[in-house]
């Protein structure tokens, strides 16, 4: 299933702690957060990391959630994640703690365009 990156399964409750234990700013490069709509109101969210300077597989934390869940924000661990979180909140309509909506979409555009319904 996962062809060229490693996946660490986690859960919504644990994810923040997992990333906190894992992330070392001088060693790992935070890439982005991505969500995949699995259908039926379910969504898979992945946090991607890669090592600096070493040819190695990227690492992803994976969490399955639903659209109703509140997803913890990691801005206090990785300050640059606010943009990725804002994007997910806009394009998928996810409830992410403290994420600002309306950064990527205009007020008159359809809500959560990447969701399949």
């Amino acid at each position: 299933m996962y062809k060229n990156f490693e996946v660490i399964e986690s859960s919504l409750e644990k994810i923040k702690e997992d990333i906190k234990n894992f992330y070392d700013p001088s060693k790992y490069h935070f890439i982005t957060i991505n969500a995949i709509d699995l259908g039926n109101g379910k969504v898979n969210i992945k946090w991607f990391f890669a090592k600096y300077e070493v040819m190695d597989k990227p690492i992803a934390f994976s969490v399955d959630a639903t659209y109703e869940d509140t997803i913890p924000s990691i801005v206090d661990i990785i300050p640059s994640a606010w943009l990725s979180e804002a994007e997910l909140a806009d394009l998928f309509g996810l409830n992410i703690e403290g994420a600002k909506k309306g950064l990527f979409l205009e007020p008159d555009s359809p809500p959560a365009p990447l969701r399949r319904s």
Partner: protein, 361 residues
Amino acid sequence: MENKMIVPFGSQHITLLEPVRFIFETENEKIVNVDVDVGYVHRGIEKACQTKLNYKQVAYIIPRICGLCAMSHALAYITAVEKILEFDPPKKAKYLRVLVHELDRIHSHLFAMAHVAEAAGYENLVMHLFRDRELAMECLEILTGNRVQYDYGCIGGVNRDLTPEVEKILRKKLKKLEDRIHWFKDLYMNDYTLSLRWKGIGVISKEMAEKYNAAGPVARASGVRTDARAEFDALPYRDLGFEMIVYKDGDIYSRNLVRLDEIFVSLRIIWNILDGLPEGNYKEEVKGLPKGESVCRWEAPRGELFMHVRGDGKQILTRVRVKTPTFSNIPVLRELFVGANYADVPAIITSFDPCMSCTAR
């Protein structure tokens, strides 16, 4: 509001190539607070790639995200899909991909440098840089058939072979370009007004670059050793004399020098490819439907490009995610502005070489 002045910068501004809006609160031309809005050009390309187009057509739509790094987008997507299909492209195709990608990087870097010069009000340098960028553009035009949208890579290899007559023209033009780049390097190193304007301005320390996960030339100018060409095994960069350019100062000046030196590295890689192009097919038939998930990290001219592709065994992919370099650099850009002088804002923004149509997609 005692002494504060609110200065909107964008969404249309003369130094901005693409719409992004910053709202600065300034005090005596010193910035105390910033607000940013990036989504002016959201075109829903990801949505189109996931609903309407089949996975082979997406390879021609993805490069339309951005004109300047079209080749990076296309090749990153193609590599990601090839990883899902577990297909290894022929060696010659890989080399030709590197060739076009590096030419793309050269013209993009020259473009970025020209814009930094433009923001500093150095009109003559802009004209010279743009004129010499034309050489790289002509090379690409003759090699791929278009000046901006190359459509060179395809799933399975590349679309065109490098014919000997094209190679001859490439060599001639690149020789000329190399001389010009040496001239520019000399100019950049010795120009007094440039150093006055750029040295020590917009400094990103190594810690800051790591904290905010900057990417590409911006990070490398701050001393962070990161380059997706060395961190992801998509193309044979190791055989081609690739070298990571790292500067320590982290100001606008060193960002320019990183770009300038990377042009030299790119040129060296291109010479190596032209001298030692392997024999064989440049394209192979790929069969099967993508099933699985893969990622691709790609060093676009502006930094790390990230593709996340998931297919569920259908013609149409389930998810295509493009994380563009500017997307990574926006957070550090925002932090950098606080405390900067308003007069330096255009230079700082352009030295990041932002590409908003990439960011919003």
